[in-house]
C-alpha cells in the first residue's frame, strides 16, 4: 500500500489531479481510494487529496505518504510530517523554493506550450509518474480519456514533467500493469448511477454540499440517461415537485444535506400520508446549522430516523462504500415504489465525495405492478399488507385522488375516528411488510470472524476495514439498514461478543444508542470522531488496540 498526497490552493486543480492520478493507477490494475479535502471557498486556502493504492482492494486513504506533490509552500509545511522515511517531495520550483525537496519547473513547462496556470498539476503528475516507474503511454491514454478536448497541451506538459524527472528524480517504484483496468467512482456518482440503472426518470435538487455532485453528474449526463434534471427555487419546492412527479408516475429522486433535509420535513410527512414513493439522498456534513460545510460527519442519523411529523412508514438505508451506494440506491427506488413510502438514503461527505475503485454487476430496472384503475378505483384501498394498487392520473375511466388530509379509501377527506384509525393501521402495516422484505436484503454486512466485535456504519466502514488488517480475532458488523432496524441479525452478531466497540463519526454515539433501543445491548466502548474529519486507519487502529486489549 502506498500513498500520494497532492496539495495546493483552491483553483490549482487539486481535485482534478487526484482524479487523474487515480485513473492512471486504476488503468494499471491497482485498487485506489482518494480522499478529497477542501475548505468552503473557491480560490485560495489549502486543498489536498490523499491517493492510497494497493494490489488488493482498499477502502480508505492513509495519512502517511510516500510522495508529496506541492503546488504551494503551505502544502509542504502542512504535510511534511506525514512523509514516510524514504518519501520524496515534488514541487513547482517556479512558484517557490524548498530545501531538501525536488523542484520541478512546472510553470515553465506550462508557459512553453501556452497553457494556463492550472495545468501545473499535469506537469507535476508527469514527474510523479516517472518517479513511480509508470510507462508514459498509460499517462497519455488517461489524459486523452479524461480531457478529450484539451488532451494535446496536457500531454505535452505531462511529457515535459516526465522527461525532466528522468534526469532529476530517482525512481522509487516501478509500477507495471498488474491487472485489468478498473473503474474509479465517487459515492455520489455511484448513488446516481445505481438509481439511473434502476430506472430513475427525474432528479430534482437544490445545490448543497456534499450532495451537489449528484446534481452535476446527472445534469451533465441527462441526455444519455434519458433523465429530467431540475434545480428549483429551494428544497421545499424540490420535494413537493418530486411528490407531484411521483404521483403522476415518474420515478423521482432528490438530494440534499442536513439543512436542506430540515426544510423538506413538512413534505416528507406528506409523502407518508399521501403514500407517494420518493427517494431522498441525505449527504451528511457536520452541524449543527451551517457547521463545517465541506467536511464529514455521521450526526444526522437520529434526525432522519425521526424526521416528519406524525407516524408513518419510512425506510432509512446507510451504505458505506461506493459499491453499496450503487446497489442500495437501486434498492431504495425499489422499496419506495413497491411500498409507496419515502426512502432516505443516508450518505456523508466522506462516502459521497471520496473516490474508490468500483466493481459492480449490472442492475435490473425496477418493475412495479401498477393498477389499470377503472370506475371503482380507490387509491387508498385497504389491503392485507397495507399496499394499495397504484394508478396514475391520465388512466382512462379512473379518478386518482391523493391527499395530505386523512382520507377514506377513495381519497376524500375524513375526520371520522374509525376511518382515521383504519387508515393509520393500513399505512403502518406496510412497515411490517417492509421488515419482512428487508430480512432478505443485505441489511447488515459482517466481515471476518472473532470474539471481539467492531460495530460501525456509513463511510466509517472504510477506515475500520483497513484498521482491522492489523487486528486478530475481530469481527466487523456494518449496519446498513437503520429503519427497519435489522434487530435479529444485529442481536445474533453482538450477543456473544467478548468486547464490542462502536465506531462512528458523531459526538453522542447515535448508532450505539439505536442498537440499545432495538436490542437492549449496551455498548460502552465507543470511538467517536466529531472534529469534522473522517477516520484514518492507523490512528483508528491505535485506538482500537487500546479498547480491545
Amino acid at each position: 500500500m502506498k500513498t500520494i498526497t497532492i496539495g495546493g490552493k483552491a483553483g490549482d486543480g487539486i481535485k482534478a489531479a487526484g482524479k487523474l492520478f487515480a485513473n492512471i493507477l486504476s488503468q494499471l490494475g491497482y485498487y485506489v481510494f482518494v480522499l478529497d479535502d477542501y475548505p468552503s471557498l473557491i480560490t485560495g486556502g489549502h486543498n489536498f487529496n490523499k491517493i492510497s493504492f494497493d494490489k488488493k482492494p482498499i477502502f480508505s486513504h492513509y495519512k502517511e505518504t510516500d510522495v508529496l506533490i506541492a503546488l504551494d509552500k503551505k502544502t509542504i509545511d502542512k504535510h511534511k510530517k506525514e512523509l514516510k522515511k524514504n518519501g520524496i517531495i515534488l514541487y513547482d520550483s517556479n512558484s517557490f523554493s524548498y530545501k531538501g525537496a525536488i523542484g520541478i519547473p512546472a510553470q515553465d513547462f506550462v508557459k512553453e506550450v501556452g497553457g494556463i496556470k492550472i495545468m501545473r498539476n499535469v506537469a507535476l503528475l508527469g514527474a510523479l509518474s516517472y518517479a513511480l516507474g509508470i510507462d508514459f503511454k498509460i499517462v497519455k491514454s488517461v489524459l486523452k480519456k479524461v480531457y478529450p478536448e484539451k488532451a494535446d497541451k496536457n500531454i505535452v506538459i505531462a511529457q515535459k514533467g516526465y522527461t525532466f524527472a528522468k534526469e532529476n528524480v530517482k525512481q522509487i517504484l516501478r509500477l507495471k500493469k498488474i491487472g485489468k483496468p478498473k473503474e474509479v467512482m465517487s459515492g455520489n456518482t455511484a448513488i446516481a448511477y445505481g438509481a439511473v440503472r434502476a430506472g430513475l426518470d427525474i432528479y430534482i435538487a437544490y445545490p448543497m454540499t456534499p450532495a451537489t455532485s449528484i446534481l452535476h453528474y446527472l445534469a451533465k449526463n441527462s441526455q444519455k440517461f434519458k433523465l429530467k434534471v431540475v434545480q428549483p427555487e429551494n428544497e421545499i419546492s424540490v420535494i413537493n415537485m418530486a411528490l407531484g412527479s411521483a404521483y403522476a408516475g415518474a420515478k423521482t429522486m432528490i438530494g440534499t444535506s442536513g439543512g436542506g433535509f430540515a426544510l423538506m420535513n413538512e413534505a416528507l410527512s406528506l409523502a407518508g400520508m399521501s403514500e407517494t414513493p420518493i427517494v431522498i439522498v441525505e449527504c451528511q456534513r457536520p452541524g449543527p446549522s451551517t457547521g463545517v460545510p465541506t467536511y464529514t460527519s455521521q450526526a444526522d442519523l437520529n434526525f432522519v430516523l425521526n424526521a416528519g411529523h406524525g407516524e408513518f412508514p419510512k425506510v432509512v438505508i446507510a451504505p458505506g462504500t461506493n459499491e453499496q451506494a450503487y446497489y442500495k440506491s437501486a434498492e431504495a427506488l425499489y422499496l419506495a415504489w413497491k411500498y409507496q413510502v419515502p426512502v432516505i438514503l443516508l450518505s456523508d461527505k466522506h462516502l459521497s465525495e471520496s473516490l474508490k475503485t468500483f466493481e459492480v454487476k449490472n442492475l435490473k430496472k425496477v418493475k412495479i405492478k401498477t393498477s389499470n384503475g377503472g370506475k371503482n378505483y380507490k387509491r387508498y384501498l385497504i389491503t392485507k399488507d397495507g399496499v394499495s394498487p397504484i394508478a396514475f392520473p391520465g388512466t382512462k375511466d379512473s379518478v386518482v385522488k391523493a391527499s395530505s388530509y386523512e382520507h377514506d379509501e377513495f381519497g376524500i377527506t375524513t375526520e371520522e375516528p374509525e376511518v382515521v384509525k383504519k387508515m393509520q393501521q393500513k399505512r403502518l402495516r406496510k412497515m411490517k411488510a417492509i421488515e419482512k422484505e428487508v430480512e432478505k436484503l443485505e441489511a447488515v454486512k459482517v466481515y471476518g470472524k472473532g470474539k471481539n466485535v467492531i460495530v460501525t456504519w456509513g463511510s466509517s466502514i472504510g477506515a475500520v476495514l483497513e484498521a482491522a488488517k492489523g487486528l486478530k480475532n475481530v469481527k466487523i458488523v456494518q449496519i446498513i439498514y437503520m429503519l427497519p432496524f435489522p434487530k435479529k441479525s444485529v442481536e445474533k452478531h453482538l450477543k456473544n461478543a467478548k468486547k464490542i466497540v462502536c465506531v462512528e463519526a458523531n459526538a453522542t454515539g447515535q448508532l450505539a444508542n439505536l442498537i440499545k433501543l432495538n436490542t437492549g445491548i449496551e455498548i460502552k466502548n465507543k470511538i467517536l470522531k466529531y472534529d469534522s474529519r473522517e477516520f484514518e486507519p492507523i490512528e483508528l487502529l491505535n485506538e482500537l488496540k487500546r479498547w480491545l486489549k
Binding site: 426518470d201 427525474i202 430534482i204 441526455q223 434519458k226 429530467k228 431540475v230 428549483p232 427555487e233 429551494n234 421545499i236 419546492s237 424540490v238 413537493n240 415537485m241 418530486a242 411528490l243 407531484g244 412527479s245 411521483a246 404521483y247 403522476a248 408516475g249 415518474a250 423521482t252 413538512e266 413534505a267 406528506l270 399521501s274 396514475f392 392520473p393 391520465g394 388512466t395 382512462k396 375511466d397 379512473s398 379518478v399 386518482v400 385522488k401 391523493a402 391527499s403 395530505s404 388530509y405 382520507h407 381519497g411 376524500i412 377527506t413
Partner: protein
C-alpha cells in the same frame, strides 16, 4: 357530466367558494365537451377553506400542503405534460406561505393554471390578516388593525413573467368560468386572482359588487404590458378580466 363527489360541502352558507366551485365545474365540463378527456384533468390545492374544492370535484387530484401547489403541479407536468393541471390556492396559502413557489412557477412558465381564492383573510384559522388584507385590517392577530400594506398580486405576477394574468370575481361565476377556460387553454403559466368574499371574516360582497368592472369589455389591450401594469394599480374601480396575455416557451417542453 356530473363532476360532484359524495363529499359533504362544509363551506359556510354564502361563501365565495361556491361561486368558484360552480365556475370551475362548468369550465371543466365545457372543456371536456370541447375534447379534453376527463382523465387528463388534475387539480391540486393547498391548505385552507379554498382547498376543500378538490374533495368536491370528481377528477384526479392532489390535496397538497399549505403554499406548495405550484411545485406539486410543476412535478405533475414534468412527469406527464399531457395532463391538464389546475391549482387552487388561497391568498394566505400562496401570497404568504408559498410566495416563492408562485413567483418561480411564473418565471419558469410552467403550463399550469393557478386560481387564487383571494378573500384577504386566513379564514380556516378563524380570521387573521394575509398578504392581501388591507392596511388596518382588524383580525384576531391584529386587534388594532394590520400595520402592513397589502401586496398587489397582479403586478407581482406581471413582473414575474406570468404569460396569462387575470382577475375574476366569485360573485360573477359566468365571467369567472370563461376566464378559467381561457386560462386553462393558454399554453404557459396562467394566473387568475379571484376576489372572494368571506362571509365569516371579510364580507366584501357589497364592496366588490359596486366596484368591479370588466376591463376587456372596455377595450383593454391584453398584449400591452405597460397598460396591464397601470390597470393593476386601479383602486377606485376594480378591473376584472384578462390583464395580460403573451406566448413564450413552456418549461416542461425544454425536456425531451
Amino acid at each position: 357530466m356530473k363532476l360532484d363527489t359524495y363529499a359533504e360541502i362544509t363551506w359556510c352558507p354564502g361563501c365565495g367558494n361556491f361561486g368558484i366551485l360552480t365556475s370551475v365545474k362548468n369550465a371543466i365540463n365545457e372543456l371536456i365537451k370541447e375534447g379534453i378527456p376527463k382523465e387528463k384533468f388534475v387539480i391540486a390545492s393547498g391548505i385552507g377553506c379554498h382547498a376543500k374544492i378538490v374533495d368536491y370535484i370528481n377528477v384526479n387530484s392532489f390535496y397538497s400542503i399549505h403554499g406548495r401547489v405550484p411545485p406539486t403541479l410543476t412535478g405533475i407536468k414534468l412527469a406527464n405534460k399531457d395532463l391538464v393541471a389546475i391549482g387552487f390556492v388561497g391568498d394566505g396559502d400562496i401570497y404568504d406561505e408559498g410566495i416563492s413557489h408562485l413567483i418561480h412557477a411564473a418565471k419558469r412558465n410552467t403550463d399550469i393554471t393557478i386560481v387564487v381564492h383571494d378573500n384577504g383573510v386566513f379564514a380556516l384559522t378563524t380570521g387573521q390578516f394575509t398578504a392581501t388584507s388591507p392596511k388596518g385590517f382588524k383580525g384576531k392577530s391584529t386587534p388594532k388593525g394590520s400595520i402592513e400594506n397589502p401586496l398587489n398580486p397582479i403586478k407581482l405576477m406581471l413582473v414575474s413573467g406570468a404569460t396569462f394574468v387575470a382577475r375574476g370575481y366569485a360573485g360573477k361565476p359566468e365571467h369567472l368560468k370563461e376566464l378559467i377556460k381561457k386560462a386553462v387553454k393558454h399554453k404557459g403559466f396562467s394566473f387568475v386572482d379571484v376576489l372572494q368574499p368571506c362571509v365569516a371574516f371579510n364580507n366584501t360582497y357589497n364592496f366588490y359588487n359596486k366596484k368591479v368592472y370588466d376591463l376587456n369589455a372596455e377595450g383593454h389591450d391584453t398584449s400591452n404590458f405597460e397598460q396591464a401594469m397601470k390597470k393593476a394599480d386601479e383602486k377606485e374601480k376594480i378591473p376584472i378580466g384578462i390583464f395580460y396575455e403573451t406566448q413564450a416557451q413552456v418549461f416542461e417542453d425544454h425536456f425531451n
